[in-house]
Symmetry: C2
Subunit: 163 residues, 2 copies
């Protein structure tokens, strides 16, 4: 029986293993930091950040869902919880009565603004400061190349630049 898929050679394997470790460790580290310091999930943080930089701090549910790479049911549940905590509110969309807009409240904006510096600092400490300038560019190229394969249309917008 011939091997249709060649196994990974030493360099490929090293790259893959180190990437797997990263995928395993970094997301949970990010979540822990945000949860501990701000009571926010990384996903909730992404939702709030997205709203913050949208016109009128408002976005359609469906747009917000694709921008955060989530299913609509997931977003709906998350928005419900955030609404109960007073960080977000649902507003019926005037142009399309099927649609719902999610809007960041003042309290939500306040919490987000409070959470952001600590998050950036953590990102800097764990990621940015581990790399030199050259590696920063390399990382951008590498991650973009892989992402392009997974999301060719670039529908997933990631986080807006936290600032």
């Amino acid at each position: 029986m011939t091997r249709l898929v060649p196994r990974l050679d030493a360099e490929e394997s090293a790259a893959w293993l180190s990437l797997v470790s990263l995928l395993e460790l970094l997301p949970s580290a990010l979540d822990s930091q945000l949860q501990r310091d701000s009571g926010l999930t990384h996903y909730e943080f992404a939702v709030l950040s997205n709203l913050r930089f949208s016109p009128d701090q408002t976005q359609r549910m469906s747009a917000l869902a694709t921008a955060t790479n989530a299913t609509l049911p997931r977003l709906s549940h998350v928005i419900t919880r955030l609404e109960n905590r007073g960080l977000v509110e649902r507003v019926p969309c005037p142009e399309d009565r099927r649609a719902t807009n999610a809007r960041l409240t003042d309290a939500g904006r306040r919490d987000l603004v409070r959470a952001t510096p600590g998050h950036i600092e953590f990102v800097r400490r764990t990621v940015i400061d581990s790399l030199d300038r050259e590696q920063l560019d390399q990382l951008t190229a590498i991650a973009s190349a892989i992402t392009r394969k997974l999301d060719p249309e670039g529908k997933f917008a990631a986080l807006p630049d936290p600032q």
Copy 2:
């Protein structure tokens, strides 16, 4: 009020955003592929792979948990499910009667061997083939550097080399 944490500049921001996209898209893509083609979670796959390359296809629960970066309760539940599906069995540890060993069954080994080529092929298509040789080395260095910050003792062993 002075800004204690300098915001990210353009290059830093680009690197971070592209990395976030990767963290968001790749794990779910890996999970979908494995789930669809083999009925295994990525985590279950990691557990089985780890057992496969352990002496006597056996590992202590606690060792297996740290090697897969999981809490002990999580592993215990997963092993219970895998045991119900006949892919793994629990064996009391002779040397320490508190301890439990998890052992890969023949059926488990068979399923794993079946699942592996498709998984490798997917990894190749999405990750490896997106990069050139130079980038492969760069990725190894970058991911290792970040991982070192998150897990200085290197307790997390990642997957053993799938082959």
